[in-house]
Amino acid sequence: MNRLWIDERYCKGCLICLDVCPTKALKPSQEINAKGYILPTSNDMKRCTGCGLCELMCPDFAIAIEKAEG
């Protein structure tokens, strides 16, 4: 299963990653970061195909997908 990493310091909560995810593997979290932005979190990472669109379209370099080996 792929793993999701969000950099809390860099994310500004624009939630573009949620919209571009083709399998809807992300959802907005209940927590906010130190600046008051709503961060994305994993909805169901089993659905993640590792296409990398969220990494590609993130304006703040805050999201990364660690692909499962094998």
């Binding site: 793993r3 990493w5 950099d7 310091r9 860099y10 994310c11 500004k12 909560g13 624009c14 939630l15 573009i16 949620l18 919209d19 932005y37 669109l53 990494e55 590609l56 379209m57 993130c58 304006p59 703040d60 370099f61 805050a62 999201i63 990364a64 997908i65 660690e66």
Partner: protein, 283 residues
């Protein structure tokens, strides 16, 4: 912890403390264009065996200007308003091997730097111009710009804009640029492909990227990206079938003589006649 793959090209720490996160507003298109550009540069470095030191990033003033100023771990210059292309011309004269990428905004290219822009295209200097077009002056408070579409409400056009907008791609094409393309921030793969093509192209490559300004357009970034997809249409479609949508795609891709190459011809011509005399001088 895994981090974003493009962070290796950015300066996260500076002498005055951390430089990141980026200064842009949440959901700004400038950060996305920076992301796409770094992806393209990453692929060029991997495929063409071009060294990282060969790249030079130049920008003018505006939101787009902030991209090079603080974050890039490449050689970069933050120049005066509209004059990024003048600095690029000088840099190219000093070292023709530079791969120059110029970040400009629509105000930078379309209004104050308009003449620098058309003459860079006329000379066909070997630069890649990325124009981040958000249709207004974002940094100064959302005033209307030469690229604001008719009927848009901005802070200086509260009764909707009445003036026709500049089509920068057509301007670049007529002025003589070798490669002209227009995309939006909602087309990441196409933007990356175009930037790679532009860097490899000998001559001026002008790539206009329609970019969102969620703060001054007062909409969510996601809604603006959706609007980009709905309001644009491929250039290959005929005029009648476009229904007033903005054409996107590659406007032109021609081979014209590059500026430095054409001057090199004169040098070669004189060297052929006075070759021996020249060698003596060099000795």
């Amino acid at each position: 912890m895994k981090r974003h793959p493009m962070l290796k090209y950015l300066k996260e720490e500076g002498p005055m403390g951390p430089r990141m996160p980026l200064i842009f507003c949440p959901g700004c298109g400038s950060g996305q264009v920076l992301n796409y550009t770094l992806h393209a540069v990453d692929e060029i470095i991997g495929e063409d065996k071009i060294r990282k030191e060969q790249f030079l990033f130049i920008s003018g003033i505006g939101c787009s200007g902030r991209i090079t100023s603080h974050y890039l771990n490449f050689d970069s210059a933050w120049t005066i308003h509209g004059r990024a292309l003048a600095v690029a011309t000088g840099a190219l004269l000093a070292n023709p091997a530079f791969k120059i990428i110029v970040f400009t905004g629509d105000g930078d290219t379309g209004s104050i730097g308009g003449n620098h822009f058309i003459h860079a295209c006329r000379r066909n200097i070997d630069v890649t111009i990325l124009c981040l077009n958000n249709g207004l002056y974002g940094m100064t408070g959302g005033q209307h710009a030469p690229t604001t579409p008719i009927g848009t409400i901005t802070t200086t056009t509260p009764y909707r804009n009445r003036e026709a907008a500049f089509d920068l791609c057509k301007l670049a094409e007529i002025a003589g640029a070798s490669y002209v393309a227009r995309w939006t921030t909602a087309h990441p793969r196409q933007v990356i492909k175009s930037i790679m093509k532009g860097i490899r192209k000998k001559g001026t490559a002008f790539i206009e990227i329609l970019s969102q300004c969620p703060v001054h357009e007062r909409m969510l970034p996601v809604a603006l990206l959706k609007r980009f997809k709905e309001s644009t249409i491929r250039i290959s479609k005929t005029e009648e079938s476009r229904h007033g949508k903005t054409p996107i795609g590659e406007f032109c891709d021609v081979d014209r003589k590059e500026w430095n190459e054409s001057y090199q011809e004169i040098i070669d011509q004189f060297l052929a006649v006075n070759g021996k005399a020249h060698e003596q001088i060099v000795d």
